[in-house]
């Protein structure tokens, strides 16, 4: 992920601290600035306050699920364009479809390969930052 420019802001939300820190470590190494939170409500609040380029949301989180946070982000103008990756331990195809219907850009199943996460993040950030600079 060496091509990500000028430290894009990424929000990582997962109630499992180890997984959260794992993702954060990876993303910081890849040149991102990372905020971490442990539940859905905090995720929504943090996303509204700091408008990151990308959020990585665990689906099964306390207070609000990742799918609910996705839906809420897509409803508001300032957060509508944020790239969203959902993470889940579920293998049910329907859960995945619900995630996409809510507006997620990508969906990763746990346990995911670190490389897979890296590639998805890189592609989405590149996509969003070029869209932002085009608008600017």
């Amino acid at each position: 992920m060496s091509e990500i420019g000028e430290r894009p802001l990424v929000l990582v939300a997962d109630d499992d601290e180890d997984v959260r820190e794992l993702i954060a470590f990876r993303l910081r190494r890849a040149g991102c600035e990372v905020i971490t939170v442990a539940d859905g409500e905090s995720a929504l609040q943090a996303a509204r306050e700091s408008t990151p380029v990308l959020v990585v949301l665990d689906v099964m989180m306390p207070k609000l699920t990742g799918v609910e946070v996705t839906r809420a982000l897509r409803e508001d103008d300032p957060t509508r364009e944020i790239a969203i990756i959902l993470l889940t331990a579920s293998v049910e195809e329907e859960d995945m479809q619900r995630g996409f219907e809510a507006g997620a850009d990508e969906y990763l199943r746990k346990p995911f390969a670190p490389r897979e996460l890296g590639e998805v993040v890189e592609a989405l950030i590149r996509d969003r930052t070029s869209a932002r600079s085009r608008r600017a």
């Binding site: 499992d16 180890d18 997984v19 794992l22 470590f25 990876r26 190494r29 099964m60 331990a89 579920s90 293998v91 049910e92 195809e93 329907e94 479809q97 996409f100 746990k110 346990p111 995911f112 390969a113 670190p114």
Partner: protein
């Protein structure tokens, strides 16, 4: 008067018909569907009642309330419907005499009847609908009261003992079915809990194990020496083994629960088979087994990931059961309609007795046990489920001491419609996004 025309015989016919209709409802209603509404219709229509409601016991609030109303097609009584739904909410021990039929049936757990008053505002509604008496039928599951069915009748004379007796046995029947369904729902719930447990509680820690291992192995957290690297390799191999095992268990549980969904997309099965062979090559080399691939390009529609898993399982099995200096051959041909995949080995062969059970879950052959070949007996049952889900077939040819061939035939156009429904083999098709 028309009452005289209703002889004892037609009455008995009515009861018999009602019992049959209720039995039919109980037999035909799908699990999880509402039983009460069709039961109300079956009883009401056959016993010539005019109006009825089901008062469900709301344990949380401790009250009986009706949300379901049935009425005879010739009765137009919106006021009565509304009253039953909204005004008749009471506790099982409510002292108000207007609810005495309900509370009496509830406390005695017996079918009860009572004349309906023709006085006052409620009496006006009864008069308009021609209602003369009402019958309350308790519905219980084991010792637990679920609710009361209450019907109104236009007949002036009290219901005969025969009818009450028939209603008692109908109520028992309903209770038994409801109890059985509750038990099924409970089993379903436990199965879902198991899913959640396996998916979440095992896969989440695996995410951390594999993820942090990767960081350390790639020396992102500092340099490691060769011996450390080798040990980390052992951890990694075993974590992946655990990951595969969790995946297999989940797969089987999903097939069992009818929630496994196969994707449907176009891909080259030859490529899929080639990848599986490449992935297995290090294992084959380590065991001194020659791995040959002779796969044509065959474009087909189906779930490429799952078919990759199929080839992988068959090839891994063949390698496991083939001694050193033997060979495993993967062959793939297509004729435009059907793809035929063969995985042959020069291994120990499978007795005809074992062949009969080979696709059963957790089945392990005596040889596998004796030679302590690793596995838990899920691989081939998974293969069978994948093949079934694609509308194909899997067959085995084997000679003890000479070798085994697994032959899979798959329609290249995808599974025919109607195949792979949960009722059939627990696998569904979903469109690829």
């Amino acid at each position: 008067m028309f009452l005289r025309d209703v002889t004892g015989r037609t009455r008995r016919n009515e009861e018999r018909r009602a019992e049959e209709a209720v039995s039919r409802v109980l037999a035909e209603t799908e699990r999880g569907e509402d039983l009460i509404a069709p039961i109300m219709a079956a009883l009401g229509e056959n016993l010539r009642w005019v109006h009825g409601g089901f008062w469900e016991y709301d344990e949380r609030r401790g009250v009986l309330c009706s949300d379901r109303v049935w009425r005879a097609p010739d009765l137009d009584a919106p006021e009565l419907d509304r009253m039953v739904r909204e005004d008749f909410v009471f506790g099982p021990e409510d002292p108000n005499p207007r609810f005495s039929l309900w509370t009496g049936a509830w406390s005695s757990r017996e079918v009860r009847w009572a004349p309906v008053s023709q006085e006052g505002p409620e009496g006006r509604l009864a008069r308009e609908a021609g209602i003369r008496h009402a019958i309350a039928i308790p519905v219980q599951s084991g010792e637990r009261m679920l609710g009361l069915l209450v019907f109104a009748s236009r007949r002036g004379e009290p219901p005969q003992e025969e009818r009450l007796q028939a209603l008692r046995s109908i109520a028992d029947l309903i209770g038994q079915v409801v109890e059985r369904r509750n038990a099924e729902l409970e089993a379903e719930r436990m199965k879902n809990d198991f899913f959640a447990l396996v998916s979440h509680e095992l896969r989440t820690p695996l995410t951390s194990i594999v993820g942090y291992l990767d960081i350390v192995r790639e020396e992102e957290a500092g340099e490691i020496n060769d011996e450390q690297r080798r040990f980390l390799g052992v951890i990694d191999r075993n974590a992946r083994r655990l990951q595969r095992l969790v995946g297999d268990l989940l797969f089987v549980a999903q097939v069992e629960a009818g929630t496994l969904a196969l994707k449907s997309g176009e891909f080259d099965l030859g490529e899929v088979a080639g990848n599986a062979v490449d992935a297995a090559r290090p294992r084959a080399e380590k065991q001194g087994v020659e791995l040959r691939s002779d796969a044509d390009s065959v474009t087909m529609v189906g779930d490429g990931d799952r078919l990759g898993q199929l080839v992988d399982n068959l090839v891994s099995n063949a390698i496991k059961f083939t001694p050193a200096n033997g060979a495993v051959t993967v062959r793939l041909r297509g004729d435009g309609e059907e793809a035929t995949l063969e995985v042959s080995d020069t291994g120990m062969g499978i007795s005809s007795e074992d062949q009969a059970h080979l696709f059963n879950r957790f089945y392990r052959t005596d040889d596998a046990e004796k030679l302590a070949i690793p596995g838990i007996g899920l691989g081939l049952s998974i293969c069978k489920a994948i093949v079934d889900g694609h509308g194909g077939s899997i067959a085995i040819e084997s000679e003890e001491g000479a070798g085994t061939t697994f032959r899979v035939r798959l329609p290249v156009g995808g599974a025919p419609p109607g195949n792979g429904q949960p009722a059939g083999n627990g696998v569904r098709q979903v469109a690829r996004r």
